[in-house]
Point group: C3
Chain length 393, copies 3
C-alpha cells in the first residue's frame, strides 16, 4: 500500500512517473466487470484495492486491514453487505467510506471511526468505473481527467477492451500519439477488412516538429495535445538502398483521397490527455470515435482499455451500435489492429526497464518525436504529483 | 553462509530480526525425520546446514566447503560414515566437529585441523533435534531457550508437525500470544469435534492492556510472558451496525462455563518464550498441553512445529498418548485448527514484507495489542543478537 | 545494452569482472550454428546481440533500435538481406556496419549515418565465430586473445560443444587450470573407455606453489599460464583416518607409466589464456588436443565451448578426424568427462553468488591453489577493462 497523507499538488517529472501520476482519475473496470455484490481486486499505481458494487454503486477501499495489514482479499469475510471484516481480529470497516465500524474485543475503542481504511473516490460514467488515486480532498473533478466531450450526453460509449500489458505505461503513452508508430500497423487485418489505404509514415510539412501540435491547457479543463493527422504528409511507399540492395516498404493499399472522402473521412484528429488517454476521431470509420487508456499497474505492467463512441441519443441506434462494437469492432479494432500496439510496446520494455536508458540519456530522438516530447513536457507540467511506493523516494 | 565470528552478546531490536535472533537454540527436526546414516539439509536463519545422524547422535555442519564453497549436498561424497568429502578437490571434514581431516594433494598442509567447517551444537531432547545458531562458545544452556518445564522428566512429548510457512517468523510470533486472533478459529472443525464453546474475542478487564501479562525474566532461565487466558472477558457473540445494516458474529457454540469445568478445563495458561515458542496448557483438552515454534528460515519463510505433551511417566500411558496424537490430534489439533493460523498469517506477509510498514510506522495497534507489544519488548531486550546475512548490516 | 564509448584500456580486478573483461574477443557460436540468412541472438557479457550470416559472412549488431530501444529480435523485419528495420517506426540499419540507412518519415534526417547501432567486430576462424565486445577501434588482433598456435594452418579444429552453464564464468575459469579439481573426474566413464589411469590428486614437488607455473606475457601475444602436468606428483590412492574410521579414495586404474608412454603419452601440457580459454595437449588421447572456453553471459551464467584439434593438413585425415569427434569424442570427451566439470562448478555458484564471499575474504586457499591465484593475478594485470552494466559502476 502506498498511501501518503498530503493535499499538496506538486507536479513531478514524467521520467520519475514509473508508477504513474498521483491525484488523478483512472478507469479501473468496465461497468459490466463488476456485478452487484461481488468483490473484485485491482492493482492501480502499485496500490492494492478491494472493490465491490453495493446497491448499484461501486466502492473501493485499500485491500489491507488498517490494524495489522491482513490482505482482505485473501479470505473475504462479511457480516453485512456494506462492510468487510478482517478474519484475523474481526476489525470491521464500512466499505462505502472505509470507516472502522467495530472491534469485538474493544467495542468502545477510541480507534472506531478513526483507524480507517483509505477509501478511493469512485465515479461510474459511460459504462466505466473511474477511480481517484490520491490524497486531495475533495478529489479533482473527473471532467478534468477525461478528454473534452467525453462526458457529453449525446456521446454514447461502448467499453470494449480491458487487458494487461507487460510494459510500463509510459512506453504505451509515448507511442500513442506518435504519428509514425503507424508503421507497425501496415499489415494489420483491419486495414484489409476496411480496404483502408493506411500510410506507413507521416512526414512533417515544415522544419518545426512542434508546429502542428496544439497544446490545450485551459484552466479547469483537461490538459492535452491536439493534432490534425491530415496536416502531415502521408507516405504510402518508401524505397531505400542499403549497400547495393534496394528495399521497398509499402502500404497494403495505395493512397485514395477521393475514396476516403467519399467514405466520409475528412480530417482525423488525434488527441492525448492527462493522465493517459488517447482520443481518435473519427476512427476506425466515419461516425465512430475511439478512446484508449494506459493505466499504470506497477513498474512493468499497465492495463490497456478501449471504448468506442458514437454521437447519438436515439435508444435504438445506441443498441445497434453496441451490437456492432461487440460483433465487429472488438475483433477489427482491437484484435486486428490495436492489439499490435500492445505487442510492439512490450518489445521496448527490456530497454526502457533500465531506468538509466530513459528519456534523453540513451534514446536518439528524431524530428517526428516532437509529438512524444510534447506529451512528456505537458505531462511533466500538468500532473498532480508522482506516485511512489510507501517509504521510497 | 552467514557465519560471523564473535562471542559478544548484543541484544538487537525485534524490528531488525528479519532473519531471527542469533545465539539461540532452535528446533530443526523431529527426531524421526533423521534416520541413522541419512544426510538431511536445513536452512536455519538464512544459513545452509548439512545434518547427519551417526551412531545415534545427530551432527550439523555448514553446507559449503571451507576451501572454495562447494555446496556438499549438491553431490554427497563420503569415504567414512563420520566424514564428508568435497567432490571438487577432496577436502575431507569430520562431520562431528567440522575439522578438516585431509587434503589428498597436500596431506601435510597447515590447514588440516584449521580450515574447518562451522559445526553447529546439537541437542536431541524429547524427540526433537535442537540446533544452536551462533558464535558463543560454549553455547547458552538449552534450558534457557525452551519454556519452563519443557525438559521435565515427567513431561512426555510427541512431536507432531514440521511444516514450512510463507511468511516471516515474526508475523506468526506476533499473533501466537495475541488473545484476539482467536477470531480466525471460530469455524474450525476441531471446535465441532470437541463441542468446544470457543470465544470469538477476549475483552481486557481494566484499562491497562499490559496489566494481566506476567513478564518472566529470571536470570539463568527462559525469558517469556505468561497470561491466564481466563482473566479476560470472553465474547461469544457480537452485533454491530454499519450504515443501517446489522451484522452478527458468533461462536459455534454458546458459552458453557459449567460444561467446561465439568470437562476438567480450569484456567488455560498461554505463555510465549524466546526465541519463539508458545506454550498453551491445557490444550486442546484437559490433561494435554501444546507447544509450537516459529523457526526463521529466511526473510519470507519460517517453519512451524508443534509438539503435544502429557505429564506421565508410565510407559503404557505414554505409548497410548503417542497413538492418540498420531490418530486424533495431528488431524484435530493441526489440520482442523492451527493450520488456519498458518494460512491467515501468510495473508499479512505482503504488507509486512515492506520493511517500512513494520512496527509502529504504519500499524494501528489497538488496546488488545498489549500482548503483541509486550512480546516485542521482551524479545528486543533479552535476545542474544540479530542474525544478518554475511557482509550485510 | 551496456555500450560505453571509450577507447582507453584500463585493466580491472578479476574480483570485479562478474560480467567478464571488456575489449576482448569471445567465441559466440560454432560456425554451423549460423546458417546463411538466419537471424540468431546472443547474450555476451550482458549485452544483447543480433547476429546474421549474409553472403557467407557473419555480422553482429546491438539487438535494440537506437531510436527508442525496440528489441529487433522480438519481431524481425527486413526489406533487404543486409538490413534490419525496426517494426515500430521503420528506422532501418545496415547489418554489416550498424549504420542508420533510412527513416521513412524523415528521409533527409541528419541522423542518417549517425544514429547507428553498435556493430560488433566478427572474425570467423577454425569453424568458430569470434566476436569482439568493446570500444577500442580497431579492435585488438584476434591472435592476442586465443592460445598460441590456435590459428596455425596445420592445426585442424572441430568445434564440438556450446552449452549454457548456471554459474559465473570465473568459477569455471578458476577450476579449469587447477590440477586438483581432477578429483571430480575419478569415476567418469571416459576413463573406463580409455582404461586411463587418471590420478585423483597432484602433489607439488617443492614448497612454492607458483614454481612450476610459467607465465607468458609476451608483448603482442596472448597472455597466459603454462604448466607441464607431469611436473607434479600424481596421487592414485589416498588413505585417511577420521575419528577412528579409515577411508580410502582411489583412481579407477592403478598408475601405469609404461603403458601410458607406450600409448604415446609423454608430458601433458595445460595452459590458460585470456580472456578465458584452456588448452590441454595432448588430450584426451595422444595426437589430439582440447580447447575449452568460458564465455560470460550474465552475472550467473556462462557458455561452455569445446573444440578438438589435430595437426594435419591432409584433407582425408581431417574428414576422418571430424567423424571421430562427432562419433566418439563428443560422447567420451564431453558427455563422459567434461560435462562433470560443468555440474560441479554449478555447485559453487550459491556460495560465490554472494559477492562478499569472493576472493580472499572467505575462501580458504591451499597450497595447490597457486594455479588459481596465478590465473587471477595474470587476468587482473592483462585484461583490457571490466565489463559493467550501463549506468552502473
Amino acid at each position: 500500500m502506498a498511501i501518503k497523507k498530503t493535499t499538496e499538488i506538486k507536479p513531478g517529472a514524467y521520467e520519475d512517473a514509473i508508477l504513474g501520476f498521483r491525484n488523478h482519475w483512472y478507469p479501473g473496470f468496465k461497468s459490466d466487470e463488476i456485478p452487484e455484490g461481488e468483490f473484485k481486486t485491482l492493482v492501480l499505481l502499485g496500490e492494492n484495492l478491494l472493490v465491490k458494487r453495493i446497491d448499484g454503486e461501486v466502492y473501493a477501499v485499500q485491500d489491507a486491514c488498517a490494524h495489522r495489514g491482513y490482505k482482505f482479499s485473501e479470505q473475504l469475510e462479511c457480516y453485512t453487505k456494506n462492510s468487510i471484516t478482517c478474519p484475523v481480529h474481526a476489525f470491521t470497516y464500512n466499505l462505502k467510506n472505509g470507516e472502522l465500524v467495530t472491534i469485538p474485543s474493544d467495542p468502545d475503542s477510541s480507534l472506531i471511526g478513526k483507524a480507517n481504511l483509505h477509501s478511493y473516490p469512485v465515479q461510474e460514467v459511460k459504462g466505466m468505473v473511474f477511480i481517484f488515486v490520491g490524497d486531495i480532498d475533495p478529489p479533482a473533478p473527473l471532467i478534468e481527467d477525461v478528454p473534452p466531450g467525453f462526458l457529453d450526453d449525446d456521446l454514447y460509449l461502448v467499453p470494449s477492451v480491458n487487458v494487461t500489458c507487460d510494459c510500463n505505461w509510459r512506453i504505451a503513452a509515448d507511442s500513442g500519439f506518435d504519428p509514425n508508430h503507424i508503421f507497425m500497423h501496415k499489415d494489420n487485418e483491419m486495414l484489409d477488412f476496411l480496404k483502408f489505404p493506411f500510410p506507413i509514415a507521416s512526414k512533417i510539412k515544415g522544419d518545426d516538429p512542434f508546429e502542428e501540435i496544439e497544446v490545450v491547457e485551459t484552466e479547469g479543463g483537461p490538459k492535452g495535445l491536439l493534432d490534425d493527422l491530415n496536416e502531415t504528409i502521408p507516405v504510402y511507399e518508401h524505397t531505400f538502398e542499403c549497400d547495393g540492395e534496394v528495399g521497398t516498404m509499402k502500404s497494403m493499399f495505395p493512397p485514395d483521397p477521393e475514396g476516403m472522402a467519399a467514405q466520409g473521412f475528412g480530417s482525423i484528429t488525434g488527441s492525448l490527455w492527462l493522465p493517459g488517454c488517447l482520443h481518435v476521431d473519427p476512427f476506425p470509420v466515419p461516425g465512430m470515435c475511439h478512446f484508449e487508456w494506459w493505466v499504470p499497474v506497477d513498474e512493468t505492467t499497465h492495463r490497456y482499455m478501449i471504448t468506442y463512441g458514437k454521437r447519438t441519443t436515439d435508444a435504438e441506434e445506441r443498441e445497434q451500435f453496441k451490437q456492432e462494437v461487440e460483433n465487429v469492432w472488438y475483433q477489427q479494432g482491437y484484435e486486428n489492429f490495436n492489439r499490435y500496439d500492445t505487442i510492439l510496446n512490450n518489445g521496448m520494455q527490456e530497454t526502457y526497464g533500465d531506468q538509466n536508458y530513459l528519456y534523453g540519456q540513451r534514446e536518439v530522438l528524431a524530428k517526428t518525436d516532437g509529438y512524444t516530447l510534447s506529451w512528456r513536457r505537458l505531462a511533466s507540467k500538468h500532473n498532480r504529483g508522482i506516485q511512489t511506493r510507501y517509504g521510497k523516494k
